[in-house]
Symmetry: C2
Subunit: 454 residues, 2 copies
């Protein structure tokens, strides 16, 4: 019998993060000050982030060393396994070869701790005592709670109130690792109190939770803020995934023709695909990387490339990104991690330059893909992860129709152990699709008064 | 930096299961027919189990080959990692060296699939079309659902109604793998209908669920029944864990002085410890194996060694076991997998012969141990798994007091992703302890009219 998975040794954990900025033919345009519309410098980020991370955010170095302390913590779950999906291939009766890189082995159950640990490390280096963040369904919050626990830093998580009340288990996970979790809006911030004064029963939103976390960080010099995706340094940290996968594919004697990954803000997709795109830049390979997004939040496939705010409330610098408008409110799909209005600037520029692709899937199609995956490969995927699987199934079908074998690599970014309510809704026939009209998108974009990029 | 974990290759998955019966100085006494009190033969089990498993149940062979198809499925998550708990050691400031073998990497999140896959394989070999079982909190049911899915056998799970209603996520997991899950008592069996006629709102019990699953299996020759612990063949299948751990400890250049594992029916404990006890029998080693049980269900530390029924209702043969009496109803602690009145016959005989040890812990102590573990080693343990950790903490403390270094191996049998409600109850201060009185135990045992063993 053949091997099902390729396992690396701890010494194979990458020693550097890969910075794709160094290889990009067109660098992203600069962030702008919303008031002046002038480019801003890195110092504008200093109230919120430690300098170690700000330097990474703007670095043009191709390789950035991973500190030994970070690598040592990575060893608790890394290297993660690369599986050959032989049962799935057989079920699909496809000539395609399908592999998946599985990040659900981390204690928080997703790829998120890869950046959480790195971010907390740099905060610790600069004497930060407390880190704040927001979380929706709780995947990012639990990764940060885990990381803060390792470095003995206080972790303060603002969790959207409706999630706090309906999805208590992620909160308990954060508590177990020592984090404080507050339903947002809370009475701990001016932003929260203002909302509560208007509506004491406000269900909260990611936008409000961001405001609370940022306000707490800005008011105290020993407190910083942390973000789980979108920013360059977050994408950078996730490249350990793709670097390991590249080594594992080499051991398998194979190289992907197509890489598929779910797309929220970009760190999941970047993590697996950037180290392979390097081969396109440097060795003339033609590996296709496809970002899989929900049809209900299709910034890459139906959004506009322009300047927009990174947050809902308009506190961040203006960023050059594919966006649906920062006021866009996606339908309440179960893949909560993909409900973000914009795409990080690096991924946006790559898409603009046609160096990557994007595809949208509706959520029923995604759950069907997820259940097929669970029934063949045993792992029940997180709702976010089912999006990449849905794209892979389409590509495998194409191989079958064309009678061509291609190698497909899926980023299976996390397990669905905390998402069984979503699967339950699928089985109960309660999942709905919101067919997003063109008018809804143009209306949302029409509200923007930020610079368009021609 | 040193390695944190020892990983084996797929080729290192054991090729045989280890049968400790071959090495035991005193074999277990025979099971008895409750009506005649005469020893029964293996054919008495034929209505419920396939012959392949019955042969294993009574085999005296030391090594029993693992079929290639079973090994191939094991490769989906095996070999499981062995970790050095260096963070925990540091926190405890103990000279003890602590390792843990982690079975939470299986798709169902515990060690249970090791036997589920083997059991379903032998059923498939004999043309069985459907397997029934009972489940409480759902850990065993989901392992069997997973295994039946691999072999395309129907899986019918009777889940205690109160769990079915309060813990829906394990049920959804079973559904995702294609199993049918029925709240028990159900109207699908005579046993269930009888209970429902008396009390339409019956919350159910494990005893009733067993009756339903057994009745369904007995009424149809294509349907068999499956059990997740207690029986000899179940213990046998779990020995892949200890065999791997032995190889991993050798790579670490170490050998445990003490092995600790949670104790429910015995398969968890047997799985990790029996391959090491073989070294005691064959090479004169003095490895101590400690079974960690809940203080609220202390059959090993406070029970009686005598003949008793394996089930609550009294349908099984009489088994020579440590028991609290088959009518004993333990307090509703969160470690649902450990709430069983008796111990499997092999483990009972080993304890009787003082070849293993046992220790009881109350549940608050266990959750405290589990949270300390999560804060140091990152993995949040299942409530069952916290019992072994609690024993390990005591032994590590002893090492510290005596200034002696001993090597402790913990069986971390599963993660707590589906048990966060239990942790929530701990944090909320809602956990209680039931101090079991001597009278409660003697009263329960006094109800028995089965043969005492002097």
């Amino acid at each position: 019998m053949k091997e099902r998975k390729i396992i690396l040794a701890e010494k194979d954990i990458p020693e550097n993060w890969y910075n794709i900025l160094a290889n990009m033919p067109n660098k992203p345009m600069p962030p702008l000050n919303p008031a002046t519309q002038e480019p801003i410098g890195p110092d504008a980020l200093a109230p919120l982030f430690p300098m170690g991370l700000i330097k990474q955010e703007v670095s043009a170095d191709k390789w950035i060393p991973i500190p030994e302390e970070v690598r040592d913590i990575y060893k608790m779950w890394r290297p993660s396994p690369l599986y050959r999906a032989s049962n799935l291939e057989k079920m699909l009766d496809t000539p395609a070869k399908i592999y998946y890189k599985y990040e659900g082995v981390s204690p928080a159950g997703s790829h998120k701790p890869n950046t959480a640990v790195a971010q907390v490390y740099y905060n610790k280096q600069e004497g930060v005592k407390r880190i704040t963040t927001e979380t929706g369904a709780g995947q990012w919050g639990s990764a940060l709670a885990l990381a803060c626990n390792f470095f003995d830093i206080e972790c303060e998580v603002y969790m959207v109130r409706v999630s706090y009340e309906h999805k208590p288990y992620r909160k308990v996970m954060m508590n177990t690792w020592g984090a404080e979790v507050f339903p947002s809006p809370s009475d701990r911030t001016e932003a929260g109190r203002k909302i509560l004064a208007q509506d004491p029963n406000s269900p909260g939103s990611l936008g409000i939770a961001i405001s609370e976390a940022v306000e707490r960080a800005a008011m105290d010099e020993n407190t910083k803020y942390s973000l789980g995706s979108v920013l360059n340094h977050v994408l950078l940290h996730q490249t350990v995934i793709g670097q390991e996968a590249l080594k594992q594919m080499e051991i398998a004697g194979d190289l992907p023709d197509i890489i598929v990954a779910p797309f929220g803000g970009g760190s999941n997709f970047a993590g697996i695909s950037f180290p392979f795109l390097r081969l396109n830049f440097e060795e003339g390979k033609k590996i296709r990387a496809i970002a899989s997004e929900p049809a209900s939040c299709p910034k890459l496939t139906r959004g506009q490339f322009r300047y927009d705010f990174g947050d809902t409330i308009g506190m961040t610098p203006l960023l050059p990104m594919y966006t649906l408008g920062h006021n866009f409110v996606p339908a309440p799909i179960h893949a909560g991690g993909l409900r973000y209005h914009g795409a990080g600037v690096i991924v946006s520029q790559l898409l603009k330059d046609k160096l990557i692709e994007a595809r949208a899937h509706n959520q029923i199609e995604c759950f069907e893909a997820g259940i097929l995956f669970a029934k063949t490969e045993a792992i029940i995927p997180a709702p976010e992860a089912t999006h990449g699987i849905a794209t892979a199934l389409q590509e495998a079908q194409k191989c079958k129709e064309e009678g061509v074998s291609r190698t497909i690599l899926i980023h299976l970014c996390g397990h669905g152990n905390f998402d069984m309510a979503a699967y339950d809704a699928y089985f109960a026939g309660e999942l709905t699709e919101h067919e997003l009209t063109e008018k809804e998108i143009t209306d949302s974009l029409a509200e923007l008064d930020t610079p368009v990029i021609e």
